[in-house]
């Protein structure tokens, strides 16, 4: 919201030398956020009102003139190409040192004394666009300079003074006053300043007329319209409003239109109360405020044609809707060029209905924005007084022919009882009853005391929901004292026990393990999935929920798995990287069951905290990519201190390759999958160049250890030898089978400590249908150093077992 300081000063007597930075600070700290202030006169620095004495031809240019212009102290020659130059005309002169936008375009540039086609020019005579005033003085043709002859100031007057621009513009953040409908206008801010600075506020006497009751106004739905004042008037006309009114409307960021419309806008900007004027001649029968009938139509002032629904509130006459209540007038019955009789509307409409309608037709206006905040109906009186003062001032011949104030139920002011002791304890600062009463009194609250009990009557303009509980009263007192005047109070602690949250720590450990030990990058994706990826990765979408208003038509599904979005991320990054690994930790949501542990009437879908990831690498080396991925999962429990995982092959994930997949188990519970993304799914995901190993784990089934479980082992006193053997197996013999045989050997022989997988080889030197596996045996005794014969013997026993049980043979060296 834009405010003019001069306008505010109409209502409250602020000191002449108001320090604007203090003003902004005080208002920001106590009430609303001031986003900025601007001294408007700065824009017109070194600009003067000039009077053209003579218009001479330019010796070297047909389209230019040389004007002799009176600037008060002397006559100056200024070259100008304006189409409407006349002797005697008053004009805006940008003297050297001022800033103008050339032809109304680009950034302002500094005006210097310079020669134009060989003739010295003392600055320039400006078009309205060149000094940012096109809103006040619209251009009629491209070469027109702004004619200021109507301004009764002598030549040489600073332009800012002549055009009433010696003013400060104040910009207020609208978001900071959504809860304060009383502040949406100059008067409201003035009232707040009067309270903050303890200054008197201008009061307006209510409008009175002897024709009261002479106009019929019907309210059909009083829950949506609590008050409707109509005033019918003769002897008005469509003409320009006085410059002062135009100037103020322009400063507040709107455009002056004509006197009748300007009055209604002026009143809204002054009081925050929207008003509207209808052409009386076009109204058939009387005005009714009612709900629209289904499919009634209305064409708005901006040309939008609406098919109304029953939730819309309209102003209607005998024929049908003439305005969308609180939003915008209809084009047929508002001010027309021929209007000479009007009906002025000053009304109060219910906030949320106005908001629904404005949003429904994407037609939010200055009026609807204000109504949405819940205005108090008492404000209609102030708006009417100011409006009627203006009508009388602008139309001395005006005749009020009818008036009706339909106000079925008067607003009840909010009343509250507050314990003084409570107030002081919560504020953490002592205050006397007088201090409290004086702070609140300045804000318009009526306060009385009975022992510890304080009775507060809230002013009407704060009674539409804004102030309703005692905490609101505490806030009012606190902000009047000033929040910065409260010292930070220490928070006292009670020591019960150390915070011990194993589940939360475990998830953090896992994420840090993946990121910091395993070199994976954490990503975040949205909770919704693109259809393409949801269909590719999730076989059956029947337990996958959807949004009723999705961000995009193909993004309605809510993730029931993290994998679709992980695959989308893979597809996006594939362009830039050949090899990478990513993971995400988030909730997945499924409608397979509903439960809430907080409220028995609540049914929340099953929500499972999950970690999923992708290892992306070369299509030609799936083997090592898989081993890397499996290692990350296999070692996760050991490094993050939780119960271990095992792998089984029981249920192939729909998206997995036919062969390369595993189910991940914790005890007998399935907690996830690890598998190669199948070629088909990969193609459906537009992943073209890389192999992808995916995993997904249900973290809620992790069982954290209460402490670290690594066990200490003595370092061996005598050497343990690493004995490597390459052994040929049939290629369908799995490591699991080999390992079982070897583990039996380890159990049997005290000299054989372990047997580990080192490497697997398929290739030229190995016959078809065979593979070579390199195995490392660890051989040694606890009490002596073994001889090489003893070592060979242990190794040979192991080899013989493999040969016998698995048809293996030692690979020739």
């Amino acid at each position: 919201m834009k405010l003019s300081l001069n306008w505010i000063k109409d209502y409250v007597d602020l000191p002449e030398s108001m320090d604007m930075s203090k003003f902004s600070y005080d208002l920001t700290m106590s009430t609303v956020e001031v986003e900025g202030t601007e001294n408007l006169a700065d824009r017109f620095k070194n600009m003067l009102l000039g009077e053209i004495k003579e218009v001479l031809p330019h010796p070297n240019a047909d389209k230019l003139r040389v004007c002799r212009v009176d600037l008060g102290d002397d006559i100056y020659e200024i070259v100008c190409g304006g189409s409407n130059l006349e002797p005697g005309m008053k004009v805006a002169v940008a003297a050297p040192g001022s800033f103008c936008r050339w032809h109304g375009e680009g950034e302002p540039v500094e005006i210097k004394k310079s020669k134009l086609r060989g003739v010295e020019s003392y600055g320039m005579i400006c078009a309205s666009t060149e000094i940012g005033l096109e809103g006040l003085f619209p251009l009629k043709d491209d070469h027109e300079i702004v004619d200021l002859s109507a301004f009764d100031f002598p030549a040489g007057t600073p332009l800012a003074t002549a055009l009433d621009m010696d003013d400060i513009l104040i910009e207020i953040d609208n978001k900071s006053m959504t809860n304060r409908p009383d502040l949406w206008g100059h008067y409201g801010i003035a009232r707040e300043l009067a309270a903050l600075y303890n200054l008197p506020l201008k009061e307006y006497a209510p409008f009175e007329t002897e024709v009261a009751g002479n106009l019929e106004v019907e309210i059909e739905d009083s829950s949506r319209c609590s008050r409707y004042i109509g005033v019918s008037m003769d002897n008005v006309s469509v003409k320009s409003s006085p410059y002062k009114i135009q100037n103020r409307i322009w400063k507040a960021g709107m455009r002056p239109i004509n006197a009748l419309v300007d009055i209604t806008n002026y009143v809204m900007l002054a009081t925050g109360q929207p008003t509207h004027a209808f052409d009386q001649d076009t109204i058939v029968d009387h005005i009714t405020v009612r709900r629209a009938k289904e499919n009634e139509t209305l064409e708005l002032l901006n040309g939008k044609k609406l098919n109304l629904i029953n939730d819309d509130l309209v102003i209607a006459d005998g024929r049908g809707p003439i305005a969308l209540a609180g939003v915008m007038g209809g084009c047929e019955d508002s001010i027309l060029p021929t209007t000479n009789k009007v009906i002025l509307e000053v009304a109060n409409f219910e906030a949320t209905g106005i908001r629904r309608t404005a949003l429904r037709y994407e037609n939010r206006t200055e009026a609807s924005t204000r109504y949405e905040k819940a205005l108090d109906p008492e404000r209609c009186d102030l708006a009417l007084s100011i409006a009627m003062d203006l009508f009388k001032e602008l139309y001395p011949e005006l005749k009020v022919t009818g008036y009706n104030d339909n106000y079925p139920e008067k607003l009840k002011k909010a009343e509250l009882d507050v314990s003084v002791d409570w107030l002081i304890r919560r504020l953490g600062r002592s205050l006397t009853n007088d201090e409290i009463a004086s702070q609140l009194g300045r804000l318009g609250f009526e306060v009385s005391f009975d022992g510890d009990k304080m009775h507060v009557i809230v002013p009407s303009w704060r009674s539409t929901g804004d102030v309703s509980i005692k905490a609101d009263i505490m806030e009012e007192v606190a902000r009047m004292i000033g929040y910065e005047n409260f010292e930070p109070a220490p928070i006292t602690t009670s020591f019960d026990a150390a915070i011990n949250q194993l589940d939360i720590d475990l998830v953090r450990n896992v994420k840090e393990y993946l990121a910091l030990r395993c070199g994976m990058q954490e990503i975040f994706t949205y909770p919704w999935m693109k259809d393409q990826y949801a269909n590719a990765l999730i076989g059956d979408l029947s337990n996958t929920m959807a949004l009723s208003t999705p961000p995009a038509p193909d993004e309605k599904f809510i993730r029931s798995s993290l994998l679709p979005n992980i695959c989308e991320a893979v597809a996006k990054n594939e362009r830039y990287f050949d090899e990478f690994s990513i993971f995400e930790e988030a909730q997945v949501i499924s409608s397979e069951s509903f439960i809430s542990k907080y409220d028995e009437t609540e049914f929340l879908p099953k929500q499972t905290r999950t970690i999923a990831g992708a290892f992306v690498g070369n299509l030609k080396d799936v083997n090592s990519l898989f081993r890397t991925a499996k290692g990350v999962i296999e070692y996760m429990p050991r490094f993050t201190h939780m119960e271990g995982f095992t792998f089984v092959k029981e249920e192939k994930p729909v998206w997995a390759d036919e062969t390369v997949w595993l189910n991940i188990m914790r005890g007998d519970k399935k907690i996830g999958n690890l598998a190669l993304l199948s070629k088909k799914t990969s193609m459906a995901c537009d992943i073209k160049k890389v192999a992808v190993i995916l995993f997904e784990l249900d973290t809620t089934l992790f069982v954290p250890f209460t402490s670290r479980t690594n066990k200490f082992e003595h370092m061996p006193e005598f050497p343990i030898v690493d004995y490597d053997m390459s052994i040929i197996f049939d290629s369908n013999v799995s490591w699991k089978e080999i390992k079982e045989v070897l583990d039996k050997q380890v159990a049997k022989s005290p000299l054989l400590h372990s047997a580990e997988f080192i490497d697997e080889y398929h290739g030229k030197q190995i016959p078809d249908g065979k593979k070579s596996v390199m195995i490392r045996l660890r051989i040694g005794a606890l009490d002596k150093t073994l001889t090489s014969q003893e070592i060979e013997k242990v190794a040979n026993n192991a080899l013989q077992a493999l040969c016998k049980l698995l048809n293996a043979s030692l690979r020739a060296q």
Binding site: R180, I469, Y483, P488, I491, S548, I582, Y598
Partner: protein, 345 residues
């Protein structure tokens, strides 16, 4: 003879000392003391000398031989220590290797930094579900029945669960505060906890607005806590994030679930509060809303608002991370673009 010997010894000494590796030294040794070495040649000349000179010359040559042998051995020991396989044109200016490639999301990093800070102050960390009901998303938080945030223009309601009311109407959580009520309901006062997590709003996105973003809620509830106690909490959190004492101010603000409510500003760290383009020349940057939980919110959690009060802040993690690193587009956080994410590891 004597001069030649001195000359030879001088040259040999220079050659020995100039050797950089052992092999080179061996060559030098051969060229001096070997069968065809220079000193050996001199020794062979001895018999041709006059007898009276022979003894002295022999002595001198032997002295030179011993001295050079000694020098060679000394040099050999030096080279053994010094000598390495590495060529002298080894380039030490080549950049080091990145120790690992992975990392946590910058928002997770910020979240963990904050967790560490608040844990040291005795706060618990709380987590809750992404999908909530209107009951906890709005009703229990004192949102009036017609509040605009309840509408589908603002909140993501779930298809098939968007027609009921209260506990029957489901949405992606629009904020964390409803979850905080769940915590209050199931724990015993006094409370001291934080609640990090993503929240979702149906918005048009741009560089400053996202549909999914991260909040970090902190709440203390106790008997007779004054609202200025919150200042201490905020100062502690911000100082931890930015690593220095951050000036904090609270000013009037409005949110349905707090009364009084505040906008909390921190002093601009770019200009030190003098005013710059980052803080729009006011010296302060708005970082979080906060306030005393509204009595209706405490009541909905089963607490007597006359007895209990508290302080709440809700930090927008995205914004804080943007300030920490100078990120200028909030949408990057959900882009899963590794070129972006890798910058913060």
């Amino acid at each position: 003879m004597k001069e030649r010997l001195q000359e030879l010894q001088k040259t040999a000494e220079e050659q020995i000392l100039a050797c950089k590796i052992e092999a080179e030294l061996q060559n030098v040794k051969n060229s001096i003391l070997g069968k065809t070495g220079t000193l050996t040649a001199l020794l062979k000349e001895l018999p041709q000398l006059a007898i009276e000179k022979r003894a002295e010359a022999g002595k001198l040559v032997n002295q030179a031989k011993n001295s050079l042998s000694e020098l060679i051995e000394k040099r050999r020991e030096e080279l053994k220590i010094k000598e390495s396989e590495i060529s002298s044109d080894f380039d030490v200016t080549i950049p080091g290797k990145l120790p690992f490639k992975g990392g946590l999301h910058p928002i997770t990093q910020m979240c963990y930094d904050l967790n560490d800070a608040v844990r040291s102050m005795g706060f618990e960390v709380f987590q809750e579900d992404d999908v909530t009901s209107e009951l906890y998303g709005f009703d229990k938080l004192n949102f009036p029945p017609n509040h605009p945030a309840r509408e589908s223009m603002d909140t993501y309601w779930l298809e098939g669960h968007d027609k009921g009311t209260a506990a029957k109407k489901l949405c992606l959580r629009p904020h964390l505060t409803g979850g905080s009520v769940r915590y209050l309901q199931t724990h015993k006062p006094p409370y001291r906890f934080v609640y990090p997590g993503p929240v979702y709003r149906n918005e048009t996105t741009d560089a400053r607005h996202e549909r999914a973003f991260f909040q970090y809620e902190a709440l203390i509830v106790d008997k007779d806590l004054t609202f200025s106690a919150g200042k201490v909490m905020i100062k502690s959190i911000l100082s931890k994030v930015f690593g220095c004492d951050v000036p904090v101010r609270m000013r009037a603000g409005f949110f349905p679930f707090v009364e009084p409510g505040f906008e909390i500003d921190m002093g601009c760290l770019v200009c030190g509060g003098k005013g710059c383009s980052v803080c729009k020349h006011v010296g302060w940057i708005e970082v979080m809303p906060g306030g005393t939980p509204h009595p209706n919110v405490l009541k909905s959690a089963g607490l007597d608002p006359d007895e209990y009060t508290g302080f709440y802040v809700n930090i927008g993690l995205d914004r804080l991370v943007m300030m920490r690193y100078g990120v200028d587009d909030v949408r990057l956080f959900h882009s899963s673009d590794l070129r972006f994410l890798k910058q913060f590891n």
